[in-house]
Symmetry: C2
Subunit: 403 residues, 2 copies
Amino acid sequence: MLTKTSTEVVRQQNTALVLSALRRKGALSHTEIAEQTGLASATISVITAELERSGTIAKTEQHVQGGRGRPRVLFAQRRDCGYVIVVRISSDIVQYSLADYGGVLLDRFEEARSHDAGDAAAFGQVFLAALERLLQRSRIEKEGVLAVSISSKGLVAGDGARLLWSPVFGRQELDFSKLLRPDWRARIMLSNETLLVAQALAAKAEEKGDAFKGLAAISLGHSIGLGLARRGRSGELDVSAPNFGHMLHASSAGLCRCGAYGCIEAAAGFYGILRAAFEVPSDTIPAKFVPLAEMDKIAAGARQGQRMPGYAFRQAGIALGNGISRMLSLYEPMPIYITGQGTRYFDLLQKGVEEGLAQSLQVRLEGLPEITVVGDEQRLVFDGHLDRALSAVDSDITAAGHS
Amino acid sequence: MLTKTSTEVVRQQNTALVLSALRRKGALSHTEIAEQTGLASATISVITAELERSGTIAKTEQHVQGGRGRPRVLFAQRRDCGYVIVVRISSDIVQYSLADYGGVLLDRFEEARSHDAGDAAAFGQVFLAALERLLQRSRIEKEGVLAVSISSKGLVAGDGARLLWSPVFGRQELDFSKLLRPDWRARIMLSNETLLVAQALAAKAEEKGDAFKGLAAISLGHSIGLGLARRGRSGELDVSAPNFGHMLHASSAGLCRCGAYGCIEAAAGFYGILRAAFEVPSDTIPAKFVPLAEMDKIAAGARQGQRMPGYAFRQAGIALGNGISRMLSLYEPMPIYITGQGTRYFDLLQKGVEEGLAQSLQVRLEGLPEITVVGDEQRLVFDGHLDRALSAVDSDITAAGHS
DNA sequence: GCTTTTTTCTCGACAGTCGAGAAAATAAAT
DNA sequence: ATTTATTTTCTCGACTGTCGAGAAAAAAGC
């Protein structure tokens, strides 16, 4: 449905455009902003004056220039304009970070999670306390925090605040909005971890300037994650994290820790590979956690040509390949990026992946998708967090306008 | 990426809003347009004056009113403002229709397709000749045609003009844009048939006013089609037709007529059901066309409790159910609408569908999706055609503006 | 014929963008 | 030291668009 538009919307949009240019390119002068945005110089004057008045951006005093004429004055976000909290929840640790409005990391600490205690309510209290600690350590007021961006593996509800299913808490729903709402007026954002990887990779690809249409990020590890970033018709980036790890592969894949049979994860997650390698009956309840050393041993065996370990990785690869082929059937063709701890076994998976891919019409028509292994998943997740949180904050600011 | 906006964009948007209100609600008066769109009365005056000047809309002379004050004058699209051609290509016939800018059907004829001749180039010539005939019969100039909307089963390229794969022409690519471009300046639109069903159903749902989030249409027949209609974040409707029928189901499903093994269609398409019912080896090259009478016989057998026919439908149902569950894993939960000739066997499929659905985490979390059988697929396809083509024409008109 | 009622049209105010040229601020030249 | 050239930033008037209020139009009732 279309909606009414007025000139104020135009201003909002163009203000957002200026802020995002500043976000992407760093400090810019009047003329550079005009170049980047395509707006007229006069318009830039009005918009920057307004943003400066509201305390969002400021002139930086450095007038570095060798040129001839009047020196440029650079605009940049006022970094003390507000703060962003980033929380990465993983199976073993929870990492709390504080960054300023400019995206500069100010503080960070981690807390170990006990493997056995998976009580969501208890975690909520620990979580709240940690946020308070983060504020105290940097002497920042709650009101100064503009966004709290949280990530976990698992399935996030469409509203972006509720964790519906996660490897850590299972089906215990975790509503971060409800948890924080009375006290915190910051924007609460919950994202799937691999979604953030996709977001970060998409941002990088756009930076490079090559015509970006879409990409898929797949994270291999104890669980299997998928993040999609696609450019919508309107030109905006659309990122999502479908429930790939627990998409049905084949019932032969056995019992998954989600309780269903035949998920991709039950074949390609670490515990699935382990189960196949040791010929454990496939309806055994899977281990909560597989030490990496254990996986390394199996991989070593497979590389030495042992039969069952090799078979286990191959089966895992086929499950992945089939899953990717199904995903490509339901979306457009796009390049695939593989991350996560499991990439260290990608040599063992690759053959199976290609075999699993080759079976479908989609791949026969379009050819094998481009598959790239990328390292440093944690860094990508954090970058994705910042990208997402800060652009949300930017749009909040432009929406608030002159109130 | 955001993009520059100016006041002209505002005008375009609001003009489009007026046109779409007129399209949805029929003839409207000045005040009614203001109500529908939320725009100020003064704005309506300017926009309608402009549209009237350009010949897109006109005042209808009927002043039906019992009320007291000044009678309302109704605005409506000038039906002779332009024309739209709709072509439905199915396996046995090709239907050509002509409608005016108001969406009123003016002329229609069908041409039988010979089953053997699947030559794409030859078809192109037949197609062109038929379009000419359509023009001649109604004495309309080529320039008066604003859009040619074509539909077929199969896979349509992202540009909306090339047929990449179809049950009729196989992998012979058919580029309608290239075929029509020199002579026709109309907008060329090629859509998957089931996409149009989804579009029509979504339009109906929006009309009803219930908060519409998304839906999936599945067409059962010789081949299996999927159309998705989802509301994007920006509020616009996003319809697509992923390659569902040839998504990998399980290699046990046997050889598909696309040449791959294990497609959903190879299990749930008519020929797949027939093959299973008669215990034909699953790598047999599938029949091009299965008479409906043949299918009816198998169904009758299944309803009488015969083993293999019952098994065949059940297998088909499971393939569908698994496919739907995978689709729901990769998108959000949404209601499912089933159409096509195959709906007459839905009683036989249903059990298997539910069984196939129940296996996945997604369904365990969200519950079984709502499944509705809807008849009159051909009507829905035509409605979808008109909806899509006319709104495209509307946006062309608003984009052209005062040139 | 006058009043009432409803609808449509018009006018001035306001918000936004744009292009052109003025003003500012520096480096190089004289 | 002063002038000139160059580059950047700012400002002004023109243009386009929406909006609210009230005027004008057109019919029904008295």
